[in-house]
């Protein structure tokens, strides 16, 4: 009995310690974010560009595919189902809420976690194992500044950008796909979308991309640095990073939606 509670207690303590570590890590990231320093910008900038290239540009095909599928499905469904009970007036609003506000950011987040989140954790984990982090430290290069900050910026910028691409692919591409089934004219559809879109929709989409990007990059880099000695820890940490990021994404999504409609 005591053993059981002891296990639970240890589990809670371990979780709390992990959370504390994570908070300390966040503080470190924040500090190096605001720490002024000459130089260093260019090397970090090149990492940033590479990160945007890998996370953003190379994810475009997947994003396009998912967006096309989702867009086509929701457009066909809403254009055929809604008029059955007099809901034509809400087609634009529903599509925008579903695609731009909710599913777009979440699905983009998932794709980025799957593609880049794991890559970041694995890369940093391997760097720890191969003493590359130590090497950076020894050269006086702040690993947080050199590795984490550009990844946070890169993943965030990519997620924000991918979000917008997702919306465009889903709304425009999705419509073109559904044109094979439907007869609605493109201009009418576009007008409907634009007239039922408010700036808050775009703002929420951008904000979600921004927050998800920060969450994913910080959690995944943290998990990467959590690798201590052996390379067997790397895949473990990668899966932890995925689970953690997805959980964080859902919680953040809930909070943002709650705050918006509060």
């Amino acid at each position: 009995m005591a053993g059981y509670f002891g296990t639970v207690g240890q589990w809670v303590l371990a979780k709390a310690a992990g959370l504390l570590d994570f908070c300390a890590y966040n503080a470190l990231v924040l500090r190096s974010l605001f720490h002024k320093r000459r130089g260093g910008l260019e090397s970090s900038l090149s990492v940033l560009f590479k990160q945007v290239f890998f996370t953003g540009v190379q994810a475009l095909p997947v994003i396009a595919l998912v967006a096309l599928a989702l867009g086509a499905i929701s457009i066909v469904q809403s254009l055929t189902q809604l008029p059955k009970f007099g809901g034509e007036a809400f087609i634009g609003k529903i599509l925008i809420t579903v695609i731009v506000r909710e599913l777009g950011p979440i699905l983009t987040g998932f794709i980025v976690i799957g593609r880049s989140g794991t890559a970041i954790t694995t890369e940093i984990g391997n760097m720890v194992v191969q003493h590359e982090i130590e090497a950076l430290e020894a050269m006086g290069i702040d690993p947080v500044r050199y590795l984490v900050i550009p990844r946070v910026f890169g993943v965030t910028a990519s997620l924000v950008a991918l979000n917008i691409y997702f919306d465009i692919f889903a709304l425009v591409g999705g419509f073109l796909v559904s044109k094979t089934v439907l007869l609605t004219s493109f201009t009418i559809f576009l007008r409907e979308i634009v007239s039922s879109m408010v700036v808050a929709d775009i703002a929420v989409s951008l904000l979600k991309g921004f927050i998800f990007g920060i969450l994913v990059s910080v959690i995944c880099t943290f998990r990467g640095f959590s690798v201590k000695l052996s390379s067997t820890e790397v895949p473990q940490m990668a899966s932890k990073a995925v689970v953690g990021s997805i959980t964080a994404l859902f919680i953040a999504d809930g909070i943002i939606t709650f705050i918006y409609y509060f």
Binding site: E132, E134, A138
Partner: protein, 264 residues
Amino acid sequence: MNDPAVELKDVSLAFGNEPILTSISIRIPKGALVAITGPSGCGKSTLLKISAGLLHPDSGTVTIEGVDIFNVSRSTLYELRKSFAFVFQDGALISNLTLYNNLALPIRYHYRLSDEEIEKRVRAVLDDFGLYTERRLMPAQLSIGQRKLASFARGIIMEPRLIFVDEPVSGIDAITTQRMVGKLLPLRDDNKVTMVMVSHNLDFIKSSADYIALIYQNKLFAYGTRDDILKSEDPILQGILSIIVDEQAIVAEEVLEILSESPF
């Protein structure tokens, strides 16, 4: 000797219940080459990492150029490390950068220089180390010896005052060893540069070190000038020295023979 480059005081470290280092104090004089040696698994490399501030000891202090490196802000420490070099046993090059960019990285990070300026410096160093033709290769495409050389080159490019070297001549082929030694010795003779080296190649130590620190069973067993240590009559000390064996000793011996004939 009054103003040491690096000073370790009472440094202890344990992994769990197993002690790695127990109460080690060393003063490393400026401009000297100190070789830390000892049998395998005695914590030499750990001591080197602690000296460079890469590893936190459980207790004790490390002072580099008067700065207590475990009690300063990270930014001060990074600033200080600009003038350090740490040559890793396995090279520890950044694996997703080419050799060229690995060398350019610290310059780019610490200084605002034009691309041409950086190119000039990197090229000079790479030429010097005979690695210029490999500049576009990724670290994984280089041989171990080349990686070690590159790691050294990466340290040298920042024109350091203090160089930590972990096993410079073990596990590499004769020619690379020759190149490595050829780079190391001039730096030893440079009075502005202090070197701390870990090696268990006694022959190499004999031919290069100014001071020798002998670690045995987690403790600093003996520390003194090369001659003091090597010519000591102490049977235990000689016994310890006799069990320090480098797997590549034979290769190194050959090299040292060649070296003894060479001008440096």
